[in-house]
């Protein structure tokens, strides 16, 4: 392994090597998702090991020092994510660069002309625009809000400023309302101005303004100043108003005062309020058990517990909810708590993450320092989950009101929340479906979207441009690099009626030019899957990595850090219990619902 990866090396074990060979043969004949459940789950762990060995690439930290050590950093999460790794304190901290899932020479953007080809606006109009809403009927709308809630924890490229915009020529029949010299303009991603290491080559780098860790930074912020703004200063609690809701952010009209509130809408407000309440309940419970603890100690311990609970919900509820495949369901539970077979546990031993789960195992960065990656952000472009409209219901009352999502976001968010109420909106989200993550299902309001301080945006075109400018490989090469092999025809990608022909026309017959987002949305899905198998390969790697790299989910997942109470709290709770604790009126709607992200009962 080159020094580019800061000396980190993946170590294969003997069993892993053997299984790798076996599954290469098996997969030659049978896809992983068509195997029997246990065989399929083992197949996923083989994929993960391959990806851990070959698909983690360091781009440099991008920050010279980790900042100062603060008392308590050894036993709780620092505000900016520094000192999570005590050996590599800069790793994963706010401001550190995004890493890569592919060798750096594969992550080089096209030169200028090719970068705009084919026009992202044409793709937006002809392949992505929603024609009629395609619902994801196995999920409720909280699943859509949840993933944005989570991505706000993991990454932010910052808000791009004006200057040097991409100029996308518009077709004569395009009705884009704010053309500039016949073009649609898209601002470039905020530039990384830190000194570049010489070995980076032509690969562009970008900084993640949020902490990379799974530390609930969306609630607690990624710097000390923000953290102090959201705290009440008493008993470790987060500041809430008299009505029990988060206060308004004076600097961002319409948004709640919380750790990270970009792209604010009602869905985020629901989850932020829910988990702020959860944090405060945990503080109260801790104070009863540890009356001598001060505000700081209570806050930090409650943060640890809340962050772990959120990670657990994501691992064992959200992921199997959106990727409803038995092998994956088994594998995600195994990731968290191990396999339920005592004999196999005994054979594999105490140190086996497969036997006992990643939680509580030893931290391991595998082949590169921990960082979120550009490819990870690319596969999390899940905007089709968002509907253009939804029915807002009232608990205990019949009838529903049809509301447009565009009126539930930005400056309108708090007003909408106040009008309809926290409980009613949770109930409404629980009983509404998100959109399916498919072609022709990109929300139209986001294709002509006004955001404060930004020019009019076509988010669909912007999603395409972001992958291109950041050097994320296009779909076919992306497939190859995650170990799936290239396709040679458009028909191999998709069976959506008419899509292959339309893609062929737009990409002038060149299947290698298909954009990643288009390929991911077009791809035929394994049974039960809510998004593509190609995107899933990155998830296999990164979902485990977020846990396995983090000291607080591995070496320090212990009572001395979390308290026995905290470990019990995490073990015994899930989304449903959190919802029922804070909004008990939802009981009938959640009765018989096993996964909080599945559709709830309409009362």
């Amino acid at each position: 392994m080159s020094r580019e990866n800061d000396g980190f090396v993946f170590h294969h074990d003997l069993l892993g090597r053997f299984l790798d060979v076996v599954y290469r043969v098996v997969n030659f004949f049978v896809r992983w998702d068509r195997l029997q459940m246990l065989l399929g789950a083992v197949n996923l762990s083989v994929f993960r090991d391959r990806l851990r060995a070959h698909n983690l690439h360091h781009t440099g930290y991008g920050i010279p020092t980790s900042g100062g050590w603060a008392a308590g950093d050894e036993r709780w999460r620092s505000a900016d994510g520094s000192f999570n790794s005590l050996d590599h304190p800069r790793m994963g901290m706010a401001g550190a660069r995004f890493g890569r899932n592919f060798p750096l020479p594969e992550c080089v953007p096209d030169s200028d002309d090719a970068l705009l080809d084919p026009s992202p606006r044409v793709i937006s109009r002809e392949l992505l625009a929603r024609r009629t809403f395609i619902p994801a009927t196995t999920l409720n709308l909280l699943a859509a809000a949840w993933i944005q809630f989570e991505t706000h924890n993991w990454f932010s490229h910052g808000v791009p400023g004006p200057g040097n915009e991409f100029k996308i020529p518009l077709q004569p029949n395009d009705d884009w309302p704010e053309p500039v010299d016949g073009c649609m303009q898209i601002r470039r991603t905020v530039k990384d101005e830190t000194p570049r290491e010489t070995w980076l080559g032509a690969t562009p780098t970008f900084q993640n303004l949020n902490s990379h860790w799974w530390d609930a930074g969306q609630i607690y912020g990624s710097d000390h100043k923000r953290q102090m703004q959201i705290r009440s200063g008493a008993d470790g609690k987060i500041e809430v108003g008299d009505d029990g809701m988060l206060p308004a952010d004076p600097e961002r009209p319409g948004a709640d005062l919380t750790g990270f509130n970009d792209n604010w809408w009602v869905g985020l407000s629901l989850l932020h309020n829910l988990f702020a309440r959860e944090h405060n309940v945990i503080c109260e419970a801790l104070k009863v058990r540890y009356p001598a603890w001060n505000d700081e100690e209570l806050f930090q311990r409650a943060r640890l517990i809340t962050a772990a609970l959120i990670a657990k919900i994501h691992t064992v509820e959200w992921t199997p909810g959106i990727l409803a495949h038995p092998a994956l369901d088994f594998a995600m539970h195994a990731n968290w708590s191990g396999i339920p077979f005592r004999v196999v546990q005994a054979v594999l031993g105490k140190n086996s993450e497969a036997a006992y789960g990643i939680i509580g195992s030893s931290a391991d960065q595998h082949s590169a320092p921990y960082a979120m990656t550009e490819e990870f952000t690319a596969v999390y472009r899940l905007h089709p989950l968002v509907p253009d409209e939804m029915n807002v219901r009232q608990l205990g009352a019949a009838g529903q009101e049809r509301c447009e999502l565009v009126n539930m976001q930005g400056r309108s968010s708090r007003e909408f929340m106040e009008k309809h109420g926290f409980s009613n909106l949770l109930y409404s989200f629980g009983t509404a479906h998100p959109g399916a993550i498919r072609l022709y299902n990109y929300p139209n309001f986001l294709r002509q979207f006004r955001k404060d301080g930004q020019p009019l945006l076509d988010m669909a075109a912007l999603d395409i441009m972001r992958d291109r400018e950041r050097g994320v490989p296009r779909y076919n090469r992306f497939r190859e690099l995650v170990g799936k092999g290239r396709v040679t025809t458009f028909e191999e990608i998709t069976s959506i009626p008419g899509a292959a022909d339309k893609m062929r026309e737009i990409y002038k017959g060149d299947v290698d030019r298909v954009d990643l987002l288009v390929g991911l949305l077009a791809e035929d899905l394994p049974d039960g899957f809510g998004f593509s198998d190609t995107a899933f390969r990155i998830f296999i790697l990164m979902a485990s990595r977020r846990l396995k790299s983090d000291r607080f989910f591995t070496d320090d997942y212990r009572a001395e850090v979390y308290t026995e109470f905290g470990l019990d709290w995490i073990r015994n709770n899930g989304l449903k219990s959190v919802l029922l604790r804070h909004v008990p009126q939802l009981g009938p709607a959640l009765e018989g619902v096993n996964n909080g992200f599945a559709p709830w009962n309409v009362l």
Partner: protein, 298 residues
Amino acid sequence: MAFTITIPGIVRIVIVKTPDEVVAINDAGVVGRSLSGRGGLVNGSIAAKLAVFRTPDGDIWPAFRDRLDPLRAAHQAALETALSDVEPLLRRIAPEIAELGGYVRGGTAPRSTGIIVQQATGRLFFDDYTANEASYDAARTLQTWSSAGPLRAFWIRRSGALQASLDRIMDLSRGNMACAHATALAMANILRSIELMRELARQGDNLAKIAPQEALVQTLRAPERVVREARDGGRVGQVRLCARSVVVLAVESARRQRSDPGFAFFAGAWNQCPAHSIVPALLADVWRAARTETRERT
């Protein structure tokens, strides 16, 4: 007309020999200098060979940097500037030019011509650069490594000769990667030109009759081949490229079809060799030195 060999799992290679195709492919965005090693066993082996041309810190030798690499452009511009002031540089290497002139004239040099060429090349970067048998052996090892078959390559690596040669070249180049590239690999083209000059001079009264510029045109040699990879498939001019093909640009073969000496240096292209002025001037001076000494003797 490009020549394509595809044996699934073994090799995926395209050999390009005509000047227009070489220029078009060199300019194509889909073709890059970085080799992934994908496409077959042979592709992997070629990539592994070129992957060694890095510094111990992982820094990439300039000639292997990709088109969009900002450091490539910076290195290239800096070197171009440093090598563009030809006269002082030629004065600096006048002793080596005189030695080479003597060799071209038919004399016997007290040391290998390769050593002289390597020293002359090195002194373009450092005026006290001193080549010797060991440094030239190191350069030859690296040149052999680049074109060796699998068994020979295995032995060169296994015996430690590869690493020792890289270390020696980097030490002598004081970490200057452009100097390392010039004194290890690029010098081979100058050496071939010198050998051709000697052959040319041997025939009749060519040495007196042929002017330095004409001798230069007749003996200037480009790299035999330059290796690239097509990351994705596509068509570049008339050449159809499959994804992950190794693309071999037969530059010398193409150059012979063009009278323009600049072709050997990719003149005007994004990867124009920064030595495009100094090398022709050096060769012309060697021919001039050979003639001068002949005149002095007669």
